[in-house]
Symmetry: C2
Amino acid sequence: MSVTAPLGFRAAGIAAGIKAGGARDLALIVNDGPCRAAAGVFTVNRVKAAPVLWSQQVLSGGRVHAVVLNSGGANACTGPLGFQDTHATAEKVAQALDDSAGEVAVCSTGLIGERLPMDPLLAGVDLAVSQLARDGGLAAADAIRTTDTVSKISFRRGEGGYMVGGMAKGAGMLAPGLATMLSVITTDADLPAELLDEVLRRVTRVTFDRLDADGCMSTNDTVLLLASGASGTVPDLAEFEQVLLAVCADLVRQLLLDAEGASKAIAVEVVGAASEDDAVTVGRSVARSNLLKCAIHGEDPNWGRVLSAVGTTDAAFEPERLNVAINGIWICRGGAVGDDRSKVDLTPRDVTITVDLSAGPHTATIHTTDLTAAYVHENSAYSS
Amino acid sequence: MSVTAPLGFRAAGIAAGIKAGGARDLALIVNDGPCRAAAGVFTVNRVKAAPVLWSQQVLSGGRVHAVVLNSGGANACTGPLGFQDTHATAEKVAQALDDSAGEVAVCSTGLIGERLPMDPLLAGVDLAVSQLARDGGLAAADAIRTTDTVSKISFRRGEGGYMVGGMAKGAGMLAPGLATMLSVITTDADLPAELLDEVLRRVTRVTFDRLDADGCMSTNDTVLLLASGASGTVPDLAEFEQVLLAVCADLVRQLLLDAEGASKAIAVEVVGAASEDDAVTVGRSVARSNLLKCAIHGEDPNWGRVLSAVGTTDAAFEPERLNVAINGIWICRGGAVGDDRSKVDLTPRDVTITVDLSAGPHTATIHTTDLTAAYVHENSAYSS
């Protein structure tokens, strides 16, 4: 189902020969309308890949007819020639659809710093167009995988009968300012681009932006939201936001569980913060502590490493009023030893670290993973 | 030699029984004068261990008679009772020396969140006092080790015959806002506390503060500088600064080479920056990229991961003017592919990553290590 769960969308996922080994590596999603309203959020990394620079221009118009995505190469740090490659890819899709390239978004993922093999890629576009189908969503989700071990898809039905569907990829380089490398979400609800943009920003801020697997921000992160209007339903905006939130949260959960080399899914839940910004800042700092992530991997409830990460932030708190629970046991109270640490059960895959700043009513949760030898191995050997 | 290389200092390092296993775990350094001028810099972590809070008070007076240091426990996050333990330790040393506790600095290192075993520790102070000796510097350096595999010591002679000597420990949790957990540096030069403070801050800013092994900032980091004046030499301040710089740089190099689980010593050298702050910011961001650190471990010259780390900063640069060299080969030029990456030799232990921001004349170098399965192992198993 994935991106083709809503009416008005066709998709394909094919092997163009960009990746060695013959796996699928090119996805195409086409919005057959009647509407083409779209919104996008992109990496805030100042070193942006060519497809990000291109797609930001496309999305500024608020309309997307098609999205073409490739794995097997990020087309990042490839200079003006890399940008020409992205442009040529969009033109090729536009020609095949008899439309303008100005409504064709492009996404790429894979190694940075290498040009894409344009001959097989452009030939692949023709193949993908020929295979566009209403049931092509799964193949498209498969084609954007890199080190992802599984495809990530989700869909939900909204009130009045419209659908929201989505796919995502991203097993490494998950970090704030977008935590996934690529995600495309579709809906057959009828909403204008301005409202899509508004809702997408609110939803990604509390979903994709709060996943931080390894603190490394990608050059290619992109989340696109496309609306066909094919259901004829004009949803209540608040209700639509909840449905979109459910789809994004589901995709984030799948990304977290498939993060490179991870053996634990850690939720860093900050409560008692003076502001939501403080809660996010503290959550990120804890989620980025390599020492803590190693401790959780070793099933050691090392709350001292939590406090030392909290202490590096400028959030409002008093050290002697900090409380920390791991999996529900308050092992640190008032900045010092609390309940018996032997009561903490760290054997489950899911780990919740609760940090109480005792400074106000605000909360936020950041999702991360443990740090493992498998992560080191995967990221030492990636390009070789 | 170490801290007893300069005249006027005695030291001891003994096994008090704080650590299980009978290894040395208590060090004492006494300044016999004629001067007692001293300066200190401390962790900027807002969660500070009890000995840091105590020693900051002591150093505010500009005089230190003795420093007592223990391994086997950090006395951090131990509440008011932990502070009382630090106070009691200082009092015990003061009694043995027939002096006031107000000139006794205390340092602790080890696990966070556990009270120190005070009975063996206080008995150990008596033993240490009885063993104070002019050749006790090596034993003291040995006694402050935790996961350090070797003692770190250094000394240099200055013009006019004065000496500067030092010891340090710190194999993990090396991060800015002091990169070592503990270091004591001594000199028999004759300098007042205000000048020691001024010089120490300038020197630590470009040495200890630019070592960032794992991005984790300790609750206990302390660097103390003690002057006995016993050589009778009043050094030229600029010359003294160079000697102190040499000792601190040597200690930092030893810390880097002994960082937990590291197989590479990485210098991230930022050039062409619009300001020194920009250079430091970019250097830290690159030095903290887990993905890059894994790549270097795998001897993969993955310059894309360098650029993506640079791109997360707010330093002045244009993406299309960034250049990156690894071990002297400019594999990224103008933000895109440069020289042949196969020319990069990553087999040596020392790796230099040069980032040219093309934005100005300023430079800075941050030192870090690679990320290895051994680091994960050591920090997963530390407390068990």
